[in-house]
């Protein structure tokens, strides 16, 4: 199939590994899904310390279940990406470790305290879910199937994140104030989650014309704001003055893009933002520290299939 034919046929879940697809499609889909997979992994690493720091046993159980889910989402997505035949899972994981793998802007920032947790697990996960729900109609079938399972699980993450926010915003004055400060720090980053405005998006046109991407950055950002500004206000959070957000006559919102720090955004996009580099290296060290587990599993598998002599033989 050539690109023209792909564009013509493009529709929800239209293409599977059985189809003969052009390199342009395979590379665009790989870039998109690999980015998504990397983001799941880096998000999980960012949140992991809060399993230990969770303030109650209920939170600890739920949060540990959530982090486990996210790692699972990463695994599902690497499979969906690998099935395009452009990169292997090992290559993608190696690239993530050596700093070449790209991932979501929000996961380059440090997560320092429990009051910041709902910024990720309510707002960022909520934003992610807006996007993921549209990707159930992506044209790469294995990606859409991964989204079915991800969306099934993700509702719990968002509701739990919202529950943490609610608890903090109905807590002591100090807690409310700290949560508001965390919100002010994270708000611009969350708005940038959806990437640059459509005019500046490098990859949108092609990905959209072959049905990989279902909604533009701007549409998704607006859909997020429509849903989540009322939520934030409901819990008593004040929306920061900047970036300026205008409410249109029809009740939808528009962001003044010039108020956002795009230099920082593109530094992050190149994996050159200092805290993000620390997080990439942190994961790399964790990965190396448990190399012996993977080695043991590999060795055991060989031994069990009877080809390698046992130490006791």
């Amino acid at each position: 199939m050539n690109v023209g034919a792909v564009k013509e046929r493009a529709g929800p879940r239209e293409f599977s590994p059985a189809d003969d697809l052009p390199q342009e499609y395979r590379e665009a889909a790989t870039r998109m899904i690999e980015f998504h997979a990397n983001s799941e992994i880096m998000g999980a690493y960012l949140e992991r310390p809060f399993i230990r720091q969770a303030p109650s046993i209920d939170r600890k159980l739920a949060f540990s279940a959530k982090v486990q889910d996210e790692i699972g989402h990463g695994q599902l997505l690497y499979r969906a990406a690998e099935s395009l035949g452009v990169k292997t899972r090992e290559e993608m994981l190696d690239d993530l470790a050596n700093g070449d793998g790209k991932f979501l802007n929000c996961f380059h920032y440090p997560l320092k305290s429990w009051v910041e947790v709902p910024m990720i697990s309510f707002f960022v996960d909520g934003a992610a879910m807006r996007r993921q729900a549209t990707l159930r109609r992506t044209s790469w079938e294995p990606y859409a199937h991964a989204m079915d399972k991800v969306c099934f699980e993700e509702g719990f993450h968002v509701k739990h994140g919202e529950d943490i926010l609610k608890e903090l915003m109905t807590g002591s004055q100090k807690e409310q104030q700290m949560t508001q400060e965390a919100f002010e720090e994270w708000w611009p980053r969350i708005i940038q989650f959806f990437g640059p405005t459509d005019d500046d998006s490098t990859h949108h046109d092609f990905a959209s014309s072959v049905g990989l991407k279902q909604k533009s950055n701007d549409d998704l950002r607006n859909a997020f704001l429509d849903q989540y500004i009322p939520k934030a206000e409901k819990y008593g959070l004040e929306i920061p003055d900047e970036p300026r957000i205008r409410e249109r006559d029809d009740g939808t919102y528009k962001v003044e893009e010039g108020d956002l720090d795009w230099d920082e955004f593109f530094t992050i996009a190149k994996n050159e933002y200092e805290p993000g580099v620390g997080q990439i290296n942190g994961r790399k060290h964790a990965q190396e520290a448990v190399q012996w587990v993977r080695d043991t599993i590999e060795t055991d598998t060989t031994a069990a299939s009877g080809h390698a002599p046992q130490a006791a033989d």
Partner: protein
């Protein structure tokens, strides 16, 4: 030789197990499967898999998840206020459904 058959109704759908056929080789298995399982019901694609190649593990051997009460894992366990995003509502409904089926199992 027995081949397990998985049928997909529409493009983009899941291949779900629908039965098996006797056949001496893969090509014949595909032919038989197409006739036995793709003739009457709407079918977009069929997979045939040699039974010997399928690994099975059942609930005698392992404790699968989803049977103990881990309510903290369900969206339904959290009462929040205001209208939820449509995809959050959808996820919660799917989870409520799975939870209900757990109760019936």
């Amino acid at each position: 030789m027995i081949w397990e058959v998985f049928r997909q109704e529409k493009t983009g759908g899941y291949h779900t197990h629908c039965g098996n056929v006797h056949a001496p080789d893969r090509e014949m298995a595909q032919q038989y499967a197409a006739i036995q399982h793709g003739r009457r019901k709407p079918t977009n694609s069929i997979w045939v898999v040699p039974r010997d190649e399928i690994g099975e593990i059942n609930d005698d051997e392992v404790a699968f998840g989803g049977t103990t009460d881990r309510s903290y894992r369900w969206a339904t366990a959290y009462n929040t206020t205001g209208e939820d995003a449509s995809e959050v509502v959808e996820s919660e409904d799917e989870q409520a459904d799975a939870e209900k089926r757990r109760g019936e199992a």
